[in-house]
Symmetry: C2
Subunit: 415 residues, 2 copies
Amino acid sequence: MSTPSALFVDLYELSMTQVYYDRGMTGEAIFELAVRSLPKGWDYLIAAGLDRALAFLEALRFSDEDLAYVGSLPQFDRRFIEQLREMRFTGDVWAPPEGTIVYPNEPLIQVIAPLPEAQIVETAMINQIAYPTLVASKAARAIDAAAGRPVIEFGGRRAHGSEAAIEASRAAYIAGFEATSSVEAGRRYGIPTTGTMAHSFVLAEGDEVAAFDAFVSRYPGTTLLVDTYDTASGVNNAIKVAKQYGGGSVGAIRIDSGDFRQESWQARIKLDTTGLSDVRIVASGGLDEYQIAELVGASAPIDVFACGTSIVAPPDASTLDSAYKMVEYEGNAVAKRSTGKPSIGHRKQVWRWDDQDVIDRFDATPPSDGEPLMLPMMQSGERTTQGRESLEQIRHRAGAGRGPRRIEIDPSLLS
Amino acid sequence: MSTPSALFVDLYELSMTQVYYDRGMTGEAIFELAVRSLPKGWDYLIAAGLDRALAFLEALRFSDEDLAYVGSLPQFDRRFIEQLREMRFTGDVWAPPEGTIVYPNEPLIQVIAPLPEAQIVETAMINQIAYPTLVASKAARAIDAAAGRPVIEFGGRRAHGSEAAIEASRAAYIAGFEATSSVEAGRRYGIPTTGTMAHSFVLAEGDEVAAFDAFVSRYPGTTLLVDTYDTASGVNNAIKVAKQYGGGSVGAIRIDSGDFRQESWQARIKLDTTGLSDVRIVASGGLDEYQIAELVGASAPIDVFACGTSIVAPPDASTLDSAYKMVEYEGNAVAKRSTGKPSIGHRKQVWRWDDQDVIDRFDATPPSDGEPLMLPMMQSGERTTQGRESLEQIRHRAGAGRGPRRIEIDPSLLS
């Protein structure tokens, strides 16, 4: 998937930028993207999406076709078109590395660049970072709830388009998901792929035993979907085929509907009493972290949880409440004071200790201990080494330090 | 934006397809995508997304690179890779045209094709149609609530990625939105673009009057954002600049925070008493159809509503509860009977009268009156004339016949 085009801007970004050029307002601006508040019941976020945001900045250039469209709009003049033609992103970017546990008011990205460049990427920065951060954070809740049992992601069809689907698979993997059903996500990001069968496979074959037979003979160790007609008889049919083909032929059964606790117990007992205790049970169908926690708490014998909608389009948080705000211009701190939505001026650094974070001015004296979260990801438009990480590194980072944390905003920021 | 790659499939679609080929199961299958239930409080849906779904089917082919990845997965053999290499979509597609008002259980698309082709596009069909339908339907609720006042879409940053943002702009326009802030959506789909200024523009200038002056002198008739520091003084400053530049120089002011009812009244009175009754008031910031209805009901003097999050990532419906299910194979009706999620077999036609729809078997005797909703969009892999419509035609269609309707499912479908 290529990055969004340079025209992935809101019109006002172009309008403002034209005036900035007109008036020679090309001084250094610092913008920060931060989440204002957590969705209800959430304790933390996992930063994600930075890689694509950096790729967008690296690739930023207006093509002839882009410029022809901008030039067709009444408000833009030839001089501005030529300025856009020359525009490249030449600034610095600081951010917490992907996979970092973060909290409200902590910057997810900090863009330090000539005002036109920092302004024109506003929509792209929010759009490319907020959604992966939302998904990684929601997916982490499912991982936490599963208490060690594997969770896999089946959400491609429920995502808001194919880009969202693929980025959601990546974000869920960062949070600790084991695998995705998305082949494109597997190809693009090297995420393990997984899958079972659909009800249509059973329906096309007509007979459930024949369908299971066909699948097991082709894919030894596969997962059989047992609820096309009736879960109880589906389990019986899976057992029949497993017995026929012998040990290891059926790796798991998948239950996609009904009362998961009851269905999983009934299936487990049947499997165990027929000598198939190695056949695992996968549950899918509308599962979220609350249901997973309940099933785990009730010791339901479910070995793998598959999540879709709850991860890729969280019903409790369709978006994160985030904003990309200018915090300094030409060395001066700035902030808006709108009722209910004030911003906090000054370029920031976040210092982390085991039990708390302090959000401070970037230029304040660093503490003698504590870990800085904001690191240089791009310098003068070029990615740093820190800005190029493997997905496995990111995933590893996201596994540590989850949970609530005391966040202190240094009073000097509010003055 | 190109269509998703052919690898935008779930792994199980490939696994099932390999077995279908192995077993010669290439008979005609009919799959239908339908929404199972409406989000709470919703009365109807607006069908959208068909154009991109058809574009995906037209473009379906596995590239060498796609095939190299599939071939690297352990479960697929060389013969299957060659079968995928030859695969094209050769089937028929029927659907209600985009912009049609639709209801649960009414097909949003009907795919009639050899089983492998109909199966392998499952994820893409759901993914490409469900989200635009969700957005168009949610956007229609805002239009209905606004009772004739214009509504514009500012949601690009809140959407789940750039593809979602651009498709959301198109879907909102179908529902009756007047314009979008997204320049890419404007370029791609010819949607009018609109925009104002950000708080950062005022902050960079430092002085609100200077910022307004700079914007108005460059863009006569523009919209000024008045809540960067304090809405009351922002309105005063807008008035000052409007008076200085004279009639028509300020087209509107935008209020982005606070109590919209109170702020809009205070602004309206000030504008009117200073002879600026032609300056309009735009409200933005977290608005949804409920707030719009309340503001309209209270006669708040808001001339234009701008919506973002509520449209592009509806908090009350992060997804539509939809399924793409096989309803016939080789001429026989099929249906799954899973607890709570049964499907309805048989290829369907929907007949519409003023006050009701009847969902019937496709091959039932057509009624002497009534309008069929399912129309041929693709025949033998080629789009029909019906499958190529302008966005304006679609938008026009979506303006008619909104509201609840009695839906009858012919008993012959349930047998």
